[in-house]
Symmetry: C3
Subunit: 461 residues, 3 copies
C-alpha cells in the first residue's frame, strides 16, 4: 500500500449494526470521539494507506450514517434486514468491482486501529497468497469474542462464536480471539459467500464460517496475531467509548507535544484529529479544539476555551472561557476572557474583543477594540475603531437582519445602540448612552439621549 | 433485610467526633462528596437495606450535624463530652427501643461502604447467633487501626487499639484490623456496656472492649473479613476525602454510562448520587450535576456546566459555561453558552436564552428568545416573545422587587430597560434603546429615547 | 547548610542551552510550570537551603533569561558561544569569589529536585573531603545520559557521554547515570578546569572529564546514588514538561490538603508554589491559583476560577468562572459567577459583584452590590451603594481615562451610563436608563432619558 492508490483493493466497513450495549437510539458508528464519528477514524486510516475504494455497509438508521459520511468519497450498500456479518459481506460484494483482487473487511466500531496493523495484515495476506487472512489477538478472557481454533500445527481451523460454543468448554477456554478484521482473495470470497448458511443457534450468517470453509477446500488460511490488542477491539459500550476517547486524546496530544506545543495538562486537553497547531503555542487545561481548526505559532489559548472549525494566525491570544466557531483570528488578534465568536467572525491583525462580548458575521479590521459587554452582529468595523462598553448592534427588527458599518477611526461611546442599517462615518464620535438610528457623517459627533434633570426623591416603597 | 423494614434492628451511626486530621472547624461527617455530606451516603445505604431506625450519635458541633440531616427521618442522641466509642454507644443505647434484637454500629465517616458489606455482616451475625460480630479487613500496614487478635483456632480474642499496644510488638504486627462496623445482640450489648471502663492509656471507653468481654463470658464472637477494604475505612484527612470523591465519582459515572449516557470524560464529570439522566444524553467534561437534578433523554450538556436541583426535559441543550440552580427547562429548551439561570427560572418548550443572559424567578413561555446580554428578573414572558440584546428588567427600586410582564408575540428592541412593574402588551413593539416606564398597549409601538442630534466634535483631551 | 547562609558556597546553575527537543524559540529554562519558570523552582530550593550566592550561566537568549529572573538576587554570566558544560563552568568560575570553598553545579532544567537531595550531596562531599562529588541515579535504560563507570571496588573512574560511547557497548550497558548535579572543591575546580579539552566526537568540553582528571590526580571522587530519580532528571521535551507539572501539582496539592484545604479534585487544581491558603477553604475543580496569591480561611472558590497575584480574606466566595488579577477581596466579599476583576480591583468587606461584571482599578466599599452585566472602571464606590444591572462607567473618551465617584448609599438604576468624570452624591438616586453626564447632588434624583411615546406600528420588513 504505502500511501499509493491500489485499484485492486476494496475495503468493506461493517457499519450496519445498532450496538445494543450502547443503549442508544443513534447508530453506534456515529457516536463521536473528540468531535468526530468513530467510523471516520477508520476511514481516515484506510485513506492514509492509499485505500480509496471504501464500501460502507449500512443498515440500522442507514440514512443517518450515509448523511454523516457524505462528501468523504465513500460508497454505501444497505443491508436490510441485518442477518449477520456474512450476510453483510454478501450484500457488499455485489458492489465490489470485478477487477478487485483483495477485499478487506473491517469493523466500523474499531476507531483506534493503527495503519500499521492494517498494513501488516495485508502484507501477510499477500506474501502467503492466502484465501483468507484473519486478524487475532490474545486476551486474558475471550469474553463474547469469537474463538480462534487451531490444530496441533498451529494452523487455524475455524473461528467459533462464543454464543455457539456453549457446549464446547475447550473452545471457550481459548484466549486467541478474532478481531473482525480480514483480508480475502476476492475470487475465493465471491464464490464462498454463496456457500454460507445461518447458524442454527443464532440464525445469523457468520463471515467467520468462511475460514472453516477455506480450510475444508484446502485453501490458504492465515491468522495474524497482532499485539496491539487494546486498539483492535470494537467499542460496545459508553464506557468503552470513553476509554477510546482517552486513548485517542493521549495519542494526539503526544504528537502535538512532540512537535513543540505546550499542553499544560494533556489529560484535560481535547484536540480533534484534523487540528493543526504551530510550535510554541501554549494550551491551558480544559480546552477543546475541534473540526478543521488550525492554530498558528506562539498562541496562548485557554483555559476553558472551545474552538471549532476556525483559523488562528500566529501570536493570537484566546483567553479563558472563549467559544469560537467558524471564525478567523489574524496574527496578534486577542479574544477573551469570555468572548463568543459565532460563525463568520473575522478578527483582523491585532483586533481585540474582551469580556462578555459576542460577535457574529462581522469583520473587525486591524486594531479594532471591543472590550466589554458588547454585541456585534452583521457589522463591518473599520481599522482602529473603539467600541465602548455595552455597545449593541440592533441588527434584527423581528423580521430581517441589517448591517451596521463603522468606518475607520470612529469612536463609539459606551452603552450605545446602533440601529441597523446604519453607518457611522470615519472618525465620527458617538456619545455615550446614544441610540443611533440615522447615519453619522464622518468626523461629526452624534448624540441621541435624554437631557439630565435633577429632582427630589419621592418617598419610595 | 432485603429491602424490608425490620423493626428489630437499630443502626447507630457514630458521628460525634471532630476529625482532628481534617484540620477543620466543621464536623468531619459534614464534609461533602459530590455535593452531599459524607454521612448521607451511609444513611442512604442503610435505608436502601430497609433499616429505618437510624440513631446518629452527635457531639462535636451537634447542632450543625443535626441541622444538616434534619428531614431525613433520623433520630439523634448527643454525646457530650466525647469519651470514646464505647461511651458513644452507652449514650445511644438509652434511645434504642426495648424490642430491638440487633444493634448495628457504624462509623459516620465511611461513606463508601457497600450495602452488600453491611448485609453480609448482618447475615453472619444472625446465622451464628453471635453476641457480637465485627467487620475486619487485612491491610499491608495496620497503621493506627485497632488490631484483631485471634487465638490459634482463629477465634477472635480481642481488638487492641494501636495506641494501647505500644509495648506489644506482636500485636502491632497483626495485619487484620477492625473497620469499626459491628452487629450486636441487643440484650448482650445493653448489659455489657455497663461493664466498660476507660483505657488506662487514653482514658477513652472503647467499644472494642466488648469483644474480649463477650469472649470472657463465653458468648459468641464472630469476625467477618471483608475483602472490599478500600471502601471500609474511615475518611480521616482531606486527601482521603478527595480519594473517596474519585471513587464515588467513578462508581456513579460507570452506572450512568452503562445506562446509555455518554460522558466524554468521566474523569472530570461530577454527578451527585441523587441525579437521574436519560439515555443518549451527552455530557461534556468538567460538568457538575448536583442535588435533586433530573435530566431527560437526548440532552447535550457542557462543557463547564453546573446544574443543581433542576429538572431538564428531553432534547434540552445546555451549552458551555451555564450555571443553573433550582430551575426547569422543558423539552427542547436551550441555554448558553454562559447563561445563568437562578432559582425559579422556568424555560418552557423550545425557549432559548443565550450568552451572558441571567434569568431569575421568571417564566419564559414556549419559543421565547433572549439571546444576548440580558437580565430577566421577576418576569413573565409570553410565547414567542423576542427579547433584544441588552434588555434589562429593572425589578428593584432599592426597596422592593416588582414584576415585568411581556405578553405573547411582543418584540423588545435591543438595549431596552423595562422599569417594573410594567406590562408590554401582546404583539407590542418596543424600540431599541428605550426605557419603558409605563405599560405598552397591545399591538402598539413604544419608544422612549432621546432624539439623535449631530454636532461638531469638540477638541478632546 | 540548614537554612543558614554560608558564604563559602557558590551554586552555578547551567541555563545556557536552547533545549532542542522542546522545539521552541524560547529558552528551555523559561518554560513554565504552574505559572513559574522552571528554573525558578531550583532557585527557590537553593535559597531555602541557605545558599545565597547563585550564579546563572546564560547563553541562548541570555537577555530573556536574565530579564525573567531579575530581582531574585541572582548573578549572571554569559556563555557565548556554548561549547559544553565544562566550558560553561569555565566561564562561570571567573565570577566565583576567591574565598568560596565549595562550588555546586546544577542544571537549570531540573525543577523537581528536592532540597534533601541537594543537602545529601553536599554533606557527602564535605564528610569525604572530596575534590568532586557527583549525583547519580540508576535507570532501567541509560538512554542519552552520561554513564558512570566504576572500578571493581565501586570507585567512580569516569563519566562517559552516551554519544562518546558508541563503540563501548559495555559502557552503554551501564544503568547508573550522571544527573548533572555536582559539588566541587573550589581549589580543585579552579585548577582542573584549565586542563579540559574538547571531546573529539562532539567538540564539546565536558564537565564530567573532571572526574577522570581527579581520579588520575589521585584526588577524592565521590558519587551519591540518589533514589529519587524521577525528580533528578532534566526536562527535555514538552511531554516531560507536562509530566513535571503533574508531579509538582500533586506535591503542592498534597501539602494544601494536609494543611486543611479541601480540593474537590486535586487532579484538576493548579496551585502555584507561592500561593498560601487558609484552612477550611474549599476549592472546586479546574481552578488556577497563581503568582503571589493568598487566600484566607473558609473561602469557597471555583470551579473554573483563575486567580493570580491577589489577596483574598476569610470567608470570601469566588463562584464559577471568575478571573481575578492583582486584586483584593476583603472578608466576606463575593464574586461571580463570571466576574472579571482586573488589576487594582479592591472589594472591601462584604462587597459583591455578580455575573458578567467587570471591575478595573476600582474600589468597592463595604456592602456595595454590582450584581449584573456591569463595567466599573476607575471608580470609587461608597459603602452600601447598589449598582443596577447594565451599569457602565464611561471612563474613556478615546484619549484619557477619568474617574467615577459614587458616594455612600446611592442607588444607580439599571442600564445607566455614568460619563466620567462624574460624581453621584451620597444617597442620591439615578433613574434607570439614564446617561449621567453631570454630578448628581447628594440626596437628589437624577434622570436622563427620553420620554416614552406610544405610536402605531409601521408595517415592518
Amino acid at each position: 500500500m504505502t500511501k499509493k492508490r491500489d485499484r485492486r483493493i476494496t475495503a468493506i466497513i461493517l457499519a450496519a449494526g445498532q450496538g445494543t450495549r450502547m443503549k442508544s437510539s443513534h447508530p453506534k458508528v456515529l457516536h463521536t470521539i473528540l468531535g468526530r464519528p468513530m467510523i471516520a477514524y477508520l476511514v481516515d486510516t484506510l485513506k492514509n494507506l492509499g485505500i480509496d475504494d471504501i464500501l460502507v455497509v449500512v443498515g440500522y438508521q442507514a440514512e443517518k450514517v450515509m448523511a454523516a459520511l457524505r462528501g468523504d468519497g465513500l460508497r454505501f450498500v444497505v443491508q436490510e434486514p441485518q442477518l449477520g456479518t456474512g450476510h453483510a459481506v454478501q450484500v457488499a460484494m455485489t458492489a465490489v468491482p470485478v477487477d478487485v483482487e483483495t477485499v478487506m473487511v473491517l469493523c466500523g466500531d474499531v476507531p483506534l486501529i493503527a495503519g500499521d496493523s492494517v498494513e501488516c495484515l495485508y502484507r501477510l495476506h499477500q506474501e502467503k497468497g492466502a484465501a483468507v487472512t484473519v486478524q487475532t489477538v490474545e486476551l486474558v478472557d475471550g469474553a463474547h469474542y469469537g474463538r480462534v481454533v487451531r490444530d496441533e500445527q498451529g494452523r487455524v481451523l475455524e473461528v467459533v462464536q462464543a454464543k455457539d460454543a456453549k457446549d464446547r468448554p475447550e473452545v471457550l477456554a481459548i484466549k486467541e480471539i478474532n478481531t473482525g478484521a480480514y483480508c480475502f482473495a476476492a475470487a475465493f470470497l465471491r464464490a464462498a459467500l454463496r456457500e454460507l448458511t445461518p447458524s442454527p443457534v443464532t440464525q445469523e450468517i457468520y463471515l467467520t464460517d468462511l475460514i472453516s470453509l477455506a480450510r475444508r477446500q484446502g485453501q490458504g488460511v492465515e491468522a495474524l496475531r497482532d499485539a496491539d490488542w487494546p486498539n483492535l477491539l470494537g467499542i460496545n459500550s459508553r464506557a468503552e467509548l470513553a476509554a477510546a476517547t482517552q486513548i485517542l486524546k493521549r495519542r494526539l496530544n503526544a504528537q502535538h507535544m512532540a512537535a513543540g506545543v505546550t499542553l499544560v495538562d494533556p489529560e484535560t486537553t481535547y484536540i480533534g484529529p484534523l487540528v493543526t497547531i504551530g510550535r510554541d503555542t501554549v494550551i491551558y487545561p480544559n480546552t477543546y479544539l475541534e473540526g478543521h481548526t488550525s492554530v498558528g505559532e506562539g498562541c496562548l489559548i485557554g483555559p476553558n476555551v472551545w474552538i471549532s472549525d476556525s483559523v488562528l494566525g500566529d501570536q493570537v491570544v484566546v483567553k479563558m472561557g472563549c467559544v469560537i466557531t467558524e471564525s478567523r483570528l489574524a496574527e496578534g488578534a486577542q479574544a477573551g476572557p469570555y468572548s463568543h465568536l459565532r460563525p463568520l467572525s473575522d478578527l483582523r491583525e491585532g483586533a481585540k474583543v474582551g469580556n462578555f462580548v459576542e460577535v457574529k458575521k462581522s469583520t473587525l479590521h486591524p486594531g479594532v477594540k471591543a472590550n466589554h459587554l458588547t454585541y456585534l452582529g452583521d457589522a463591518v468595523i473599520g481599522p482602529g475603531v473603539n467600541v465602548g462598553a455595552g455597545t449593541i448592534t440592533c441588527n434584527y427588527d423581528g423580521v430581517k437582519k441589517y448591517q451596521t458599518t463603522i468606518e475607520a477611526g470612529a469612536f463609539i461611546g459606551s452603552n450605545t445602540a446602533l440601529v441597523a442599517p446604519v453607518t457611522v462615518g470615519e472618525k465620527a464620535y458617538v456619545g455615550a448612552g446614544s441610540t443611533i438610528t440615522e447615519d453619522v457623517p464622518p468626523g461629526k459627533l452624534a448624540i441621541a439621549r435624554g437631557r439630565q434633570v435633577i429632582k427630589e426623591i419621592k418617598k419610595r416603597g
